[in-house]
Amino acid sequence: MHEPKQSAQQAISRRALLASTAGMCVSALGARLAMAGPPYDDPVARFPEKTALRLLNDRAPQLETPWRYFKEDLTPNEAMFVRWHLQPIPTHVDLNTWTLRVGGHVNETLSLSMDDIRAMPAQEFVAVIQCSGNSRRYFAPRVPGGQWGDGAMANVRWKGVRLSDVLERAGMKSGAVQVTFNGLDTGPLPATPDFVKALDVDHAMQQEILLAYEMNGAELPLLNGFPMRLIVPGWYATYWVKCLSEITVTDTKFDGFWMAKAYHIPDNANASETPNDLAKNTVPINRFNTRSFWVHPSEKTGETEFANGATIPLEGVAFDGGSGIASVEYSLDGGGTWQEATLGDDMGGYAFRRWRAEWTPTTPGIYQLKVRATSNDGETQPVDAKWNHGGYMRNVIETVDVTITGQEDG
């Protein structure tokens, strides 16, 4: 008798998550019955090749990864966040006609097909991709822009060819200054600045910069940049141009809007400013700062209440701009005392480093749990959140409030 009931309820909780807007009334009611889903995940929507993601915007699409996916070491392709700037976005790519054009200040202009690119030596590694505005909704005072929670990031195994191999094939002329990257997205109006990003030549020639045609062993979802996107490990995702179609070597510093004006941060150590005293000097956003998160317990999955005496697994992820994570510490008393967590497998300096510990509370009450990471470069996280008007680079020590109830119910 119990078997069918079990599977029926299981189906509701899982399937309800998959239903999208029109089905949302169904999800909402189903949620009340079975899910206790946190408001953080609402509303959700399904887009092509994607699972149900938190809907920030539908045109141009901005979709956030629900927090439970960070329990997995690699973020599934269908769950990775989506962020486009300008409608219309590419909705059709045919590899019979798609080419990657490499031109500008080079000896030989190239037009490479996907077969040409796949014939070149492939590289593969895990790297975190993170939106510049990840966690923007937590800025106080609030700032304009996509109101991301913490789910505008992903830990992905990327496969592709080295940008340096392609640039060497074209042969950069002496006096090359920057390399620019343009994708298939254009913009709604003739006057709208095309989304083009630039890297300095020295950076572009570094071995870890990849032109990726696979993520986690499969082609990229179109919304994540099929057939190819730029991978700039340790740098914010604004540089990871999607649906890449054009690489241009320049002999001057590129001054397009998306480099000269947008995605700028205060030119100081913390990239911080105050609403009444905005930074006068700014620079293009660049390398990640150090972050660490709670995956369990987490208010973002509704897992914050436990029975006294039960052993609670403490778990999360940490990463930095590429030096790797040296240590992760957690506090069970609001930052009064700190203990070291056990680090999980090292998947590379640019990847998530999972951390774990266990805690068996012996007194009921409300506990403030905190986590902070220290990178191999010696960078750690601030106690107080820094603020800038773009809502970029949040990396404050993360806190989760946990309730320990009176007794363990067997």
Partner: protein, 163 residues
Amino acid sequence: MTDKHPAPKDPSEVSREHDETERRLDGPALIIAVPLLLVAIYFAFYGVDSGRSDIETAQMGTPATEAGQVRQITAVTSKTIELPHLQPILPPGPGLEAVEVNCVVCHSPRLITDQPDFSREQWTEIVHKMVGTFGAHVTADDQDLIIDYLTFIKGTDTSGDSQ
């Protein structure tokens, strides 16, 4: 540390424990749950407005034989997606028509409704950015109406006077 905290848990185990708590249901709730379940399953399998994708693959080279098994090597040759229409309806307010005429051509109304409340000064800055930076053709009169509307539905001014 490792001594005190043996056998770190597999993240999938944590996820399963969470599932268990989700599965508790009262008897009467089941009467409501079953029809809902059928609807939910329908939407889960057939989707609702989730857009469509059409992915073409082609066989690449000859099938490779690996450990006695024939492994088909295919590669995606094209992708076509159809984006879902999920635009919200903007709430009524002074200047709504100017917003509908000028703003939603380039972006969803959700770009507005998903924002926090801002001051009139901040909304003015945002509207000017849409015109000056992104090239929106909006008359000066309409810009004022749009700012009125945004301040009305998403303003930090609590006096109730949007002007």
